[in-house]
Amino acid sequence: MDAATFLIQCLNSLQYGLLLFLVASGLTLIFGIMGVINLAHGSFYMIGAYMAYALAPVVAATAGGGFFTTLAVGFVLSIALGYVLEWAFFAFLYEREHLQQVLMTYGLILVFEELRSLIVGDDVHGVKAPPLLAGTIPLGDVMTYPVYRLFISGVCLLLALAMWFVFARTRLGMTIRAGATNREMVQSLGVDIKFLYRVVFAAGVAIAVLAGMVAAPVSSVYPGMGQSVLIICFVVVVIGGIGSIKGALLAALLIGVVDTFGKVLLPQAAGVLVYVLMAVILLWKPEGLFRAG
C-alpha cells in the first residue's frame, strides 16, 4: 500500500466513522436520556436516504431548489416526523421494560420498511452529488479523492460540534442532562419534561435522517440499508459506553478504521472484524470505553 492509497483509506475511514457517529449519537442520546432502546433508529437513516432520492424532484419542481434546499426540507420534515412519532409510539414506552421497547421498535422497523416498499418500491437507486461538490482533488500522480466525501466529513464534524455545544454549553442542554439524571425533580422545578423529551427525540431522528440524506450519493439507496447501519451503530454504542456521546465518537472512528482497512487488507473476514473488535473491548471493559455518568 503506497502513501496515496493509505491516505485515501484514512480519509474513507474518517468519513465512514463520522457518518456512523451521527447515526449512533442519536441512538445513544435517546437511550442515555430517555432510557429507550430504539431499534427503529436505523430506519430513520433509511428514510433520510430515500428522502434524498424521492424529495429532490419534488423540491426542484416546487421551490426550484437543488441539493441543499432538499436537505433543508428533509431536515424540517424529519423533525416533524420525530415529534409525531414520539407522541404516538414512544411517550408511553418510558415506563415499560426494555424488552417491550425492543418489541415495539422492532414492530416499527417492519412498518417503516413495508411503507417504504409501498411508496417508493424495492429498487436500488443512485443519488447524484450536487454539481458544486462533484469534483475531485488530485492526490499524488494518479489518485484522486472526491470532494463530496470531504463534504460529508465536514457536515458530520459540524453537527458533532453543534451537539457538543448545545449539551455542554447551553441552558437547554443543562436541563436535558438534569432530566436524564432525575426526571421528577426537573419536572417539579417547572420544566415541561415531556416537551423536552419530545424535542430531544425529534433532534435524534433529524440527525439520523440528515445522515441518511448526506450519505445517499455515496452509499446509494437500497432496501434494508437502515438495518445494516443499525446493527453497526449498536456496536458503536456498546463499545463507546451506552449514553456517552464522547464514547460514541471514539468508537465510531475506531470502527471506521477497522472496517475500511479490514475490507482492503482482509476482505474475507471484513464482516466479522468489527464484532471481534467489540468482543475484545468488552472483555477488557464490560461497560464500554466511557461509561455515561
Binding site: V102, L103, Y106, L110, F234, V238, M278, A279, L283
Partner: protein
C-alpha cells in the same frame, strides 16, 4: 413451599390448558392434511425454540437478542455433519448438532455474561451477527444461497429404526421433542437450580449475598438454552432439507423474542401460545386468499400487530385474564386511573 398434594385453582387451570393443548396436537394428524401437518410441525419447532429462550428471559431475566445463532448453528451442523449423499445416523447426528449449539452458547455466554442489562442484549446480538457473517461470507456455509440436506438422517442403531422423513414421522418426532423439552424445563424451573435462576432474575445482588456464585448458574442456563435452540434448529433443517444464513439473522432472533413476549413472559405455556399465535398471524397476513396482491406486504400487518400488542397487552396473551380482572377491580373501586392522577 406449597403442599404438593393440593393443587391450587390456577395450577389446575394450567394443567387443563396443557392437557388440552398437547391432546389437540396428538390428535391433529387424524384431521390435518399434509399442509396442516407441515404447518403444525413448523409451529412446534418454533415452540421448542421459544421455550429455550423463555428459560433465559422468563426464567433467568437475561434478554438474549441473538438466539437465532444457536438455532442456525444447530441447523447448519445438521447439514454439514451429514455425509454427502448418504443419510447420517440420527443417534449421533442429533447429539452432535445439539452439542455444537451448546458449545457455541458456552463460549458466547462465558463472554457476554460479563455484561448486564442493555449491554447484554446488544452483545448477544453482536455475537449472533458474527456467526451470521461466518456462514454468510466464508465458503463453509455456502454463502447467501445456503446448502441442501441431500439425505434425511436415519435411526439405524436400534431395531425398528426409521428415516426421519418430512410428514408424519417428523411430526411425531417433533411432538415428542416438544413434550420432552416442556417437561424438562418445567422440572428444571421447579428444581433448586431453577429457583436459583429465579432468584437471580429478581435480585442478583441478594443472591450473591446469600452465597450463590451467580455466574456459573447463568452460564449453565445460557448453555442449556443454546442446546435446546440447537435442537430446534436441527428439526428445522430436517424439515426443510435446506439451510441458509437467514436462520442466523437478527430477524429470527427478534421473531422468537416476539413469540415469547406475545405469549407472555414468565410462563412456559406463554412460549407455546406465542409460537402458535406468531406463525398463524404470519400465515394470515401472507394469505393471498384474504389480502390478494397486498399479501406481498404482510410484514406491514405483522408490524402493526406487534405494536398493538405492546400497547394493549403488556402481559401477553397469557396475561389477558389477569388484565381484565384488574380492570374490573379498578372499575369496581369507582374512579379510573385518570382521576387518581388529578392533583387535588
Amino acid at each position: 413451599m406449597r403442599d404438593g398434594a393440593v393443587l391450587e385453582a390456577s395450577d389446575r387451570g394450567k394443567l387443563a390448558f396443557l392437557a388440552l393443548a398437547f391432546g389437540a396436537l396428538a390428535l391433529y394428524p387424524l384431521v390435518g392434511g399434509s399442509f396442516g401437518i407441515g404447518l403444525a410441525t413448523k409451529i412446534m419447532i418454533y415452540a421448542i425454540f421459544a421455550l429455550s429462550l423463555e428459560l433465559l428471559v422468563g426464567g433467568t431475566g437475561l434478554v438474549c437478542f441473538g438466539h437465532a445463532a444457536f438455532f442456525g448453528i444447530g441447523a447448519y451442523a445438521t447439514v454439514l455433519l451429514s455425509p454427502g449423499y448418504d443419510p447420517a445416523e440420527l443417534a449421533w447426528l442429533l447429539p452432535a448438532c445439539v452439542g455444537a449449539a451448546a458449545l457455541y452458547a458456552l463460549a458466547v455466554g462465558a463472554l457476554s455474561l460479563r455484561t448486564r442489562g442493555v449491554y447484554f442484549i446488544m452483545v448477544t446480538l453482536a455475537f449472533a451477527q458474527m456467526a451470521y457473517y461466518v456462514v454468510h461470507d466464508t465458503p463453509l456455509g455456502g454463502g447467501t444461497d445456503g446448502i441442501y440436506l441431500n439425505a434425511r438422517p436415519v435411526l439405524g442403531l436400534v431395531p425398528g429404526g426409521f428415516e426421519l422423513r418430512g410428514g408424519l414421522t417428523l411430526y411425531w418426532f417433533t411432538f415428542g421433542a416438544l413434550v420432552l423439552v416442556f417437561a424438562f424445563l418445567a422440572v428444571l424451573l421447579r428444581s433448586r437450580f431453577g429457583r436459583a435462576l429465579a432468584g437471580i432474575r429478581v435480585n442478583e445482588q441478594r443472591m450473591r449475598a446469600t452465597g450463590f456464585a451467580t455466574y456459573p448458574y447463568k452460564l449453565a442456563a445460557f448453555t442449556i438454552s443454546g442446546a435446546i435452540a440447537g435442537l430446534a434448529g436441527f428439526l428445522f433443517a430436517v424439515k426443510d432439507g435446506f439451510v441458509n444464513p437467514e436462520l442466523l439473522s437478527w430477524h429470527l432472533s427478534g421473531a422468537v423474542l416476539i413469540m415469547i413476549i406475545l405469549g407472555g413472559i414468565g410462563h412456559l405455556r406463554g412460549a407455546l401460545i406465542g409460537a402458535f399465535a406468531y406463525v398463524l398471524l404470519q400465515e394470515f397476513f401472507k394469505s393471498e386468499a384474504i389480502f390478494g396482491e397486498f399479501s406481498r406486504h404482510w410484514l406491514l400487518g405483522m408490524g402493526f400487530t406487534i405494536i398493538a400488542s405492546v400497547a394493549l397487552l403488556p402481559h401477553g396473551i397469557v396475561g389477558i385474564g389477569r388484565q381484565l380482572a384488574e380492570r374490573r377491580a379498578r372499575a369496581a373501586r369507582g374512579g379510573g386511573k385518570e382521576s387518581a392522577d388529578e392533583p387535588a
